[in-house]
C-alpha cells in the first residue's frame, strides 16, 4: 500500500471531527459494525443512518440518498473489509457522478470486530488506487487529521463525488448503536424531511 506517509489515526476521533463540521443537516450513512458504532458515539443526529447488517452497502445506500436529495450532501462511512465486498459500487458511483456524495473509508487492514484477522487486501492493495481505477478521480489518502479535515472541506464544495481514505488503528468502536432498525429508519426519514412524526 502506498500509504507510508500517512499517519495512523483513530476512527472515533476522525468521525468526531467529521460530525463537528456538519452544519447543513448533511446525511451520514454508517456502515456495519465499528463504523456506525463510532458514528453513534460521536453523538446521534437525526440525519444519521446506522446499518445493522447488509455488509458493504454503506456506499450504495448513500448513493440512493444522494440521488433522491441532490441538494443535500451525503456522507458514507465504510470499513475496508466492507468496501472489499462491494468494489463494483465504486464504478456505479463513478458512472452516475453524484456531486453531493462523499465516501470515507476507514482502513485498518483487519476485520477488527471478528478478532482482528487481516483482510485479503492488507499489505497488497491500495484502496485509493482501486477507487481511482474504478473511475473516482477525486480519491485521496488523508495524511493526518488536519489533512482529513481539509479533504472534507474540499469535498463539501466538490463538483464530483469524493472518496477519502483514512488509515486507522486497531481500536474497537467506542459506543454501541441501539439496534432498533425501524426506529433508525423512521428517524432518518424525519431527519431528511421526508416525513413528519406521528
Amino acid at each position: 500500500m502506498n500509504t507510508s506517509n500517512t499517519k495512523v489515526m483513530n476512527r472515533f476521533d476522525v468521525t468526531s471531527r467529521l460530525i463537528a463540521k456538519l452544519k447543513h443537516e448533511e446525511a451520514v450513512i454508517g456502515g456495519i459494525g465499528n463504523t456506525n458504532f463510532d458514528l453513534w458515539a460521536a453523538g446521534h443526529r437525526p440525519q444519521n443512518f446506522y446499518m445493522l447488517g447488509s455488509m458493504g452497502l454503506a456506499f450504495p445506500i448513500a448513493l440512493g440518498v444522494a440521488l433522491a436529495q441532490p441538494d443535500r450532501r451525503v456522507f458514507a462511512l465504510e470499513g475496508d473489509g466492507s468496501l472489499l465486498m462491494q468494489l463494483g459500487a465504486l464504478s456505479t458511483i463513478a458512472t452516475l457522478k453524484p456531486k453531493n456524495l462523499i465516501m470515507i473509508v476507514m482502513d485498518n487492514g483487519i476485520y477488527q470486530i471478528t478478532g482482528a484477522q487481516p483482510t485479503p487486501a492488507a499489505h497488497v492493495a491500495d484502496l485509493v488506487a482501486i477507487a481511482a481505477g474504478s473511475g473516482l478521480a477525486n480519491s485521496a489518502w488523508a495524511a493526518d487529521e488536519e489533512d482529513f479535515e481539509r479533504l472534507v472541506d474540499e469535498a463539501m464544495s466538490a463538483s464530483e463525488p469524493s472518496l477519502i481514505a483514512v488509515r486507522i488503528d486497531d481500536k474497537p468502536g467506542v459506543g454501541t448503536t441501539r439496534r432498533d432498525p425501524v426506529q433508525i429508519r423512521e428517524r432518518f426519514m424525519h431527519g431528511l424531511g421526508v416525513r413528519e412524526p406521528l
Partner: protein, 188 residues
C-alpha cells in the same frame, strides 16, 4: 425465441405505450412515481431496459450486483424517491442477506421485478436449480410475491402490489414468468 426478443430497438421504443408486457410494466412504474431503476440485466428484460433508458422520467442504470441495487433503492426510499430493481432469478439468489438484514427489518418497500429463468424450457441445469431456491427464500421471510403468467393480469398485479408495498412498508417480488414474457429458450 421470445416475442419480446424479436423487437429491434425502434420497435421496442414504440412498444413502450402499447399492450406488451414491458410497456405495461413501464407505464405502471411511471403511474406509481417509481423513477429510479437500477438493474442487473437479463436477456428477457432487454426491451424494458431499453425503453426505461429512453424515457427521461426514469433514472436507469446497471449495477455490478443485485444487492448493490437493493441498497441504492433503499437509500432512495428513505430520501423520498421511489425505485425498483430489475434482475434475473440467479440475481435474486444473491439477495437473502440484504433482504433479511436491510429491507425486511427496516421496513423498506423494496420493489423487485424478477425475470424468471429455470423453468418452462430451461436449457441450463444450473439455472433450473437456482430457480428452485427463489420461492423458498421469499416464503422463509414471509415476503409478498406473485408469479405473473398472464398479460391481462399484469397491470392489476403490478399496480396493486406496488401500492401495497408502499402502504405496508414491506418488500414485494414480482416474478415475470416465461408464460408472460416468452422467456429465454435454447439458442446457439
Amino acid at each position: 425465441m421470445a416475442i419480446a426478443e424479436q423487437h429491434n430497438s425502434t420497435q421496442a421504443a414504440q412498444a413502450s405505450s402499447d399492450n406488451s408486457w414491458h410497456g405495461i410494466v413501464l407505464q405502471t412504474l411511471k403511474r406509481n412515481e417509481i423513477s429510479l431503476i437500477p438493474y442487473v440485466p437479463d436477456r428477457v428484460l432487454t426491451p424494458l431496459i431499453k425503453n426505461l433508458h429512453a424515457d427521461p422520467f426514469f433514472t436507469t442504470f446497471a449495477t455490478a450486483r443485485e444487492e448493490e441495487a437493493v441498497g441504492i433503492v433503499s437509500g432512495a426510499w428513505m430520501g423520498g424517491r421511489r425505485g425498483a430493481v430489475l434482475m434475473q432469478t440467479s440475481g435474486f439468489a444473491t439477495l437473502a442477506n440484504v433482504l433479511a438484514s436491510l429491507a425486511v427489518p427496516y421496513q423498506i418497500p423494496l420493489i423487485m421485478f424478477v425475470s424468471e429463468r429455470g423453468t418452462l424450457g430451461e436449457f441450463n441445469y444450473g439455472q433450473s436449480l437456482v430457480c428452485r431456491t427463489m420461492r423458498p427464500v421469499l416464503d422463509s421471510l414471509a415476503l409478498e410475491h406473485h408469479t405473473i403468467t398472464r398479460l391481462d393480469e399484469l397491470e392489476f398485479i403490478a399496480d396493486r402490489s406496488i401500492k401495497q408495498a408502499v402502504t405496508t412498508q414491506a418488500p414485494v417480488a414480482l416474478i415475470l414468468n416465461p408464460l408472460l414474457t416468452g422467456g429465454k429458450v435454447f439458442d446457439k
